[in-house]
Symmetry: C2
Subunit: 176 residues, 2 copies
Amino acid sequence: MQIAEFVEQSLGRWRSQRSGHNLAFQHFEEVRSTIDISARSNDDAEVLKLCQLHDVEPDSIASPFHMEWEGESDWDEDESPRGNCLLVPIPNSHDPSRGLLLRSQGYAETIPSVGRYVFTEEGMFVLATEYDRAAAEERIWFATENLRFRVSTIKTSNGTGILTASFASEVRSLSG
Amino acid sequence: MQIAEFVEQSLGRWRSQRSGHNLAFQHFEEVRSTIDISARSNDDAEVLKLCQLHDVEPDSIASPFHMEWEGESDWDEDESPRGNCLLVPIPNSHDPSRGLLLRSQGYAETIPSVGRYVFTEEGMFVLATEYDRAAAEERIWFATENLRFRVSTIKTSNGTGILTASFASEVRSLSG
């Protein structure tokens, strides 16, 4: 599996059902959301800006894409989690099954981040991102063409271990 | 990774936090439970009985183990899910990273089952079990020595797709 195929499979609208586990307190969180993933061209202005920020040659990138999500919160309309970010993969020139991923906003922290991804032999996408005070791992795999799963874990880098884990089931929204 | 090492790592008491997703209805389920995993000897009477049931030579098995779980239900003491099952791995004699797993009670159905397991290059345990009317996949991996994750999916075999997915975070209970 390579990043172009993975991004291609991911494009579209997804209905996401996500469960968060706070491991220390055994607390659960439940979020339903809609995720829109769309392709961006290599010479898109925002893509070029993100490349510049990270000193990356624009011709080394592949399949940039944009994610936008809007959550449903049962208890407070104003609290509904929403956001978006731009993602720019840079495949390794020697081994196309791995590379870097630039992100305009990180998962664990809302600042630009750079992660390292690798596809396992099964085609599971595994992304590791180091932040100042935390490290995040994200695993994404397709069960069918229209169903993908995502497991994210965040651990503090001071050695106290993993803080939260979350699991999302994402079903393609065929109605658009 | 081979089954003996995986079972060895799994022994002990685990505090489990499990989220179930009903994908069609976007319904969530939350269960906290305690899981005890203990080793059984190859010549244990119940192990031999399970081998006999499946016409398996007792000298082809490795690392049989027993699982017992007791859930906590917030709303009804009588409803707390509990159960136990005996598991008997039969490693493939040519490729020890894969094999069969006999189970005294299946995950999707409470009848004896036989699944096929394989360890990925990362050491993730992937078990596929076919039932009469359903197919189950279970993925288990260790994030640290004392934390393991488990993703289970059940799909009906009549082609209507995956019905439920669940995610468990299992933290080793060091207090015993």
